[in-house]
């Protein structure tokens, strides 16, 4: 598929898959905390968020499958594509790290998603807008929760401060990709179904800076070296591993059914 001959429909499917892949992979990552949370409440919270994220991915994959009309379903997109076909952000595939790292990533991703979904909820495609409005309610909880923890860890003990600062320092080179846009975004935006990422970049940065400052943390350098390429299938080594774990059972039993 050459990029200059891409149809609007193909672009829309790609757009939906990018959104869905972010959520599936992050949901799978966050689910690794299940049974390993630092306290019982956090174990529940993280499992809940993982469930929400995978639920969001499932609805978006389902919608992409409907538009594509080739008889695929959400399981096809989740289990039967390889790493180079996944277009999730590298930010989402990084290992869960310690609790501080998981929280730092969740805060960056949820705050970004909040602004993005506030725009997507006005999409012309009513079914898509309906899905987005529903997910937005849950994203707000994720944002509130992760922001509270950034504050608590940053303004907490010497150890928690050190860990959350390290987490932001470590993850910073993956934030630029959040605002990556290409022809796909332009086409979808022109169709009235997309979110103009640049329109909220400053507002998002402000929320991040204010939160980090309130948490007595140092905001890392926005102009440092930044990773790129995930939207076109370039990933860190971590994606292959998480896919292997997530997909192997389904691929071993491709016709298995719950019923």
């Amino acid at each position: 598929m050459s990029s200059d001959t891409i149809t609007r429909e193909q672009a829309y499917i790609t757009y939906l898959l990018r959104l869905a892949d972010d959520r599936l992979i992050l949901g799978q990552r966050v689910s690794e905390w299940c049974g390993h949370g630092p306290v019982l409440e956090e174990d529940l919270a993280l499992a809940n968020m993982a469930l929400d994220l995978i639920g969001h991915a499932s609805a978006l994959y389902g919608h992409a499958a409907d538009i594509e009309g080739e008889g695929h379903d959400e399981d096809y997109f989740a289990y039967f594509r390889d790493d180079y076909e996944f277009t999730n952000l590298q930010l989402c595939e990084l290992p869960k790290g310690d609790f501080a790292f998981t929280i730092a990533r969740q805060f960056l991703f949820s705050s970004f998603s909040y602004f993005q979904y506030e725009r997507l909820k006005k999409a012309k495609d009513e079914q898509f807008a309906g899905i987005i409005k529903k997910h937005l309610k849950e994203i707000k909880y994720h944002l509130r929760h992760s922001r509270d923890w950034v504050l608590r860890l940053g303004d907490g003990t010497e150890e928690s401060h050190k860990r959350i600062q390290n987490a932001f320092d470590e993850i910073w080179m993956y934030v630029d990709e959040l605002f990556y846009t290409d022809q796909i975004d332009e086409l979808i935006l022109a169709d009235g179904n997309g979110a103009d990422l640049i329109s909220f970049k400053e507002e998002w940065k402000k929320l991040v800076e204010e939160t980090l400052t309130e948490a007595t943390l140092t905001v890392p350098d926005w102009d440092q070296f930044m990773m790129s390429g995930s939207r076109t299938g370039m990933h860190t080594e971590h994606l292959g591993h998480i896919l292997a774990q997530m997909q192997f059972l389904r691929r071993s039993h491709p016709d298995a059914d719950w019923k």
């Binding site: 919270a45 469930l51 609805a59 506030e118 997910h135 849950e138 929760h145 929320l207």
Partner: protein, 168 residues
């Protein structure tokens, strides 16, 4: 004989009333605002339900329970559809449902707030009265509870932990 002559929409609503939420057994799916509409289309009974939370495992159980209930009542020709056109909100729960929740020991959701207030509200905390002693001396323990729809609080007056049905 066709379905149309056998069952009325009203009857089907009556059957749906018998289905309780698997996670909150004191409430039925009408009180929860999950059952959205019943219609008879081409002599087929069509029930539309709206999921509460996108990842809620109870939804599959509810979808299945609706089918089983209809079959139990002798309805063969039916369809259960998931309706995403409007996102589910706790505002759809009936007042009666909210008071049943409170009696069950879950602090009911209040009215939802406008979206625009969200970013400003990030730094504030909401006061939820204790469902056991009505005290306002409560504190949030976690935004997430035993199910996707609940958060956890602790009452400093009667020293009881309790759940709050999140307001979405």
């Amino acid at each position: 004989m066709s379905t149309k002559t056998l069952y009325t929409e009203q009857q089907v609503w009556g059957y749906l009333k018998e289905i309780t939420d698997p996670e909150i057994p004191v409430l039925n799916i009408i009180e929860m605002g999950i059952a959205r509409s019943v219609s008879i289309e081409n002599e087929k009974i069509v029930v539309r339900i709206t999921p509460t939370y996108s990842g809620c495992p109870a939804m599959n159980a509810i979808e299945k329970a609706v089918g089983e209930k209809l079959e139990e009542k002798g309805i063969q020709d039916y369809q259960v559809l998931l309706d995403y056109s409007e996102p589910w909100t706790t505002d759809w729960m009936t007042e009666e449902a909210k008071s049943k929740l409170k009696d069950y020991g879950i602090a009911p959701p209040e009215k939802t707030t406008k979206d625009e207030d969200f970013l400003k509200s990030l730094s504030g905390t909401k006061i939820v009265p204790c469902p056991f002693c009505d005290s306002f001396e409560t504190e949030l323990q976690s935004e997430f509870g035993s199910t996707a729809c609940k958060s956890q609080y602790f009452c400093n007056s009667c020293h009881q932990p309790f759940e709050h049905f999140k307001c979405i």
